[in-house]
């Protein structure tokens, strides 16, 4: 048992993650070719606009389900929403936010763009603390909007007329995943401006702008889009109940800041917070780079149903970073 534990703790989490990302990318992007359809309630961006998709993002389902009247919501539709949410939770609770770090195809693409930037030798960017706090609110606003606009297509708010049906699945209309992911299956049908109505023109133009922003943003800032992702906001609501957890023992933390520096999203609390045990924040994508970069034994821990599966150790830290006392450590 000790040997297995040492093997896991000394392992290269980044390499493991890359392998998992490639495998899940193939599954979710091309699974449809092998008639694989995992589910339509997947807590990650498996885009149904990709004709070869092996599953479907829960966000499109939730938008469809809320496109109904309040009266219907109080009847069978309400039960259908709860049923859908239940299935989403079954998937989500196992992996928690590691769906973002290990499975999300759009996240994987961002990591590849980051790799390209690194190869090209460009400097990466980080947000200032205040900007970071302001920007992270966008994902909650998007989550409220995607449900609110869907509801407003079948209901009147404050006596206003119903929203146009051209606003159907409002978040998908601006999601860069809808443009980018089908391209990997050779489908360019989403890379368009839709001139059929004013609403479709505005929304499709907005999606193209967001796609441009996504591509440049991901190039200069690691996991640029994750900070604005409404799926991340939805996941965080249920994160505390998940089986997979990232915990911290504040007593063992020296606040060296390694964990914060390797964090792709740029979460500072991971280093500064020495009080909380559950260290998963709404922006965390559970890539576990922080655990790999922590030299303090048992300070950061990944647990599954409270069983440790990956723990910070000094030995693991030095192995991963190929360092000894005389070498400079590059994180």
């Amino acid at each position: 048992m000790k040997k297995i534990s040492a093997f896991l703790n000394n392992g290269n989490i980044n390499r493991f993650r890359t392998i998992v990302q490639i495998l899940t990318f193939i599954l979710l992007m091309y699974g449809g070719l092998a008639h694989i359809s995992i589910s339509e309630r997947i807590p990650t961006f498996a885009c149904p606009y990709n004709p070869a998709s092996g599953g479907t993002c829960y966000l499109i389902a939730i938008q469809h389900q809320f496109h109904t009247t309040f009266a219907n919501l109080a009847s069978f539709s309400g039960i259908a929403i709860l049923k859908g949410l239940g299935l989403f939770l079954v998937f989500f609770l196992f992996l928690n936010k590691a769906w973002c770090g290990f499975v999300c195809p759009l996240g994987t693409i961002q990591d590849w763009i980051t790799g390209l930037r690194r190869k090209m030798g460009f400097r990466f960017a980080r947000y200032e603390d205040n900007n970071f706090k302001r920007l992270k609110a966008i994902k909650y606003i998007l989550l409220v909007l995607l449900i609110g606009i869907s509801l407003s297509m079948s209901n009147s708010f404050f006596g206003l007329p119903h929203a146009s049906h051209d606003m159907s699945s409002p978040f998908c209309q601006v999601c860069p995943g809808r443009t980018v992911l089908p391209l990997f299956a050779g489908d360019t049908s989403q890379l368009v401006i839709d001139f059929s109505s004013t609403t479709t023109l505005v929304m499709s133009a907005l999606r193209m702008i967001v796609t441009g922003l996504f591509l440049v943003g991901a190039f200069v800032k690691k996991r640029f889009f994750c900070l604005f992702c409404p799926m991340s906001a939805l996941q965080y609501i249920f994160s505390k109940f998940a089986f997979l957890r990232l915990t911290k023992d504040g007593d063992k933390c020296t606040t060296c800041g390694n964990c914060s520096r390797v964090c792709d999203v740029g979460i500072k609390e991971i280093a500064d917070d020495v009080v909380s045990k559950n260290i998963v924040t709404d922006d965390c994508m559970m890539c576990f780079k922080c655990v790999g970069a922590c030299p303090e034994k048992d300070c950061l821990k990944v647990t599954f149903t409270k069983i440790p599966v990956f723990t910070a150790t000094e030995e693991g830290f030095f192995k991963r970073y190929d360092a000894d006392e005389n070498k400079e450590i590059k994180i």
Binding site: H64, S77, S197
Partner: protein
């Protein structure tokens, strides 16, 4: 589970008025008198009887006569010696159906339908001048609403066909990537297979009539296949393009075979087979979308943002300066 429900064999004693007024087909367009009681149901906007709330629906189809989709009549009587209804469905429960006279014409109702496919066939037979006329009136229906999810219908994409139960049948070949959202659009080349009792029927004339009356006839090949290209028929006058407009088309296939036999104690020497099916199509997305504009917008955005980042970095970068502090100071 697929099940074939054989409908009640009806003896229809009512005859035509005597003149040949064209082919009979099942239409999804209600007669004017019924339009107020009908609403579109699900993704494929099937005509359903208005009801409160959600749940199983009652779909309605109307018999029409004539090759023009827009101008065909709604007859209120049929002239068959026998009429049989067959419903091919994925539903486990038997399908209740009723062909009745309503205001405006003859209406076929399929009652209490959940999600799934419901292929409907009216098989009419008439004998006249030692010729047996066998008419198959088809309708291919997929009842699906995206709100109910897709897992349960993904296995229902078909195509489904009645096989040896159906004298003559037109089956649309599914396209690549076909799913529950697929619509035929203008510009598509669509393939159909003509089957006589489940076997390919070669060399048979098939005629396509589009919504606004354009017609094209072709012969089926050795495998009973025939392909039609759907022409663009958008005639919108508004400033905005109605990309959700739905058009209907009609396919008619017929041929005469030297088959002899006895039907209702009358001998016949030839059999005239005819089948009709009507489905929907939409304007092509290519008409109202532009990839070039999409690419230009993305590239322009990328350029502007990259320029902004470059300028910002230039502005905020400082030259290297060495500051030497002396302890003496």
């Amino acid at each position: 589970m697929k099940s074939i429900i054989l409908g009640l064999l009806l003896s229809v004693s009512v005859l035509f008025s005597g003149t040949d007024t064209g082919v009979l087909w099942l239409s999804q367009i209600p007669p004017q008198e019924r339009a107020g009681q009908i609403k579109p149901a699900g993704m494929h906007r099937l005509p359903s009887i208005k009801q409160r709330g959600r749940g199983p629906v009652t779909l309605a189809l109307w018999l029409r006569q004539g090759e023009s989709v827009l101008e065909a009549d709604y007859p209120d009587q049929l002239g068959f010696d026998s009429l049989e209804t067959i419903i091919l469905t994925s539903a486990a429960e038997p399908i209740r159906h009723e062909l009745s006279k309503v205001a405006g014409g003859l209406e076929l109702q399929l009652k209490g339908l959940g999600e799934g496919f419901y292929n409907t066939y009216l098989l009419g037979k008439t004998i006249e001048n030692k010729t047996l006329e066998v008419l198959t009136i088809q309708a291919e229906l997929m009842n699906h609403s995206c709100r109910n999810g897709h897992e349960h219908v993904s296995r229902n994409l078909g195509p489904y066909y009645g096989g040896e139960n159906i004298p003559l049948e037109i089956v649309r070949t599914r396209v690549q990537w076909e799913d529950y959202h697929t619509f035929i659009t203008s510009g598509d080349i669509v393939e159909y297979q003509l089957l006589k009792y489940g076997q390919p029927a070669p060399g048979v004339k098939v005629t396509l009539s589009t919504h606004h009356g354009w017609q094209k006839s072709k012969l089926t090949d050795a495998e009973g296949l025939v392909r039609f290209e759907f022409i663009g028929e958008y005639f919108g006058k508004d400033k905005e393009f109605h990309n959700r407009d739905i058009y209907h088309y009609l396919l008619v296939a017929e041929f005469t075979a030297q088959d002899s036999g006895v039907f209702q104690n009358q001998a016949y020497q030839t059999v005239k087979y005819q089948t009709t099916v009507s489905e929907k199509y939409r304007p092509a997305a290519e008409i109202y979308t532009s990839t070039v504009w999409g690419l230009v917008t993305i590239l322009f955005t990328m350029m502007i943002i990259s320029l902004g980042i470059f300028v910002y970095r230039k502005k905020t970068s400082h030259d290297y300066r060495e500051i030497v502090f002396s302890e003496k100071d």
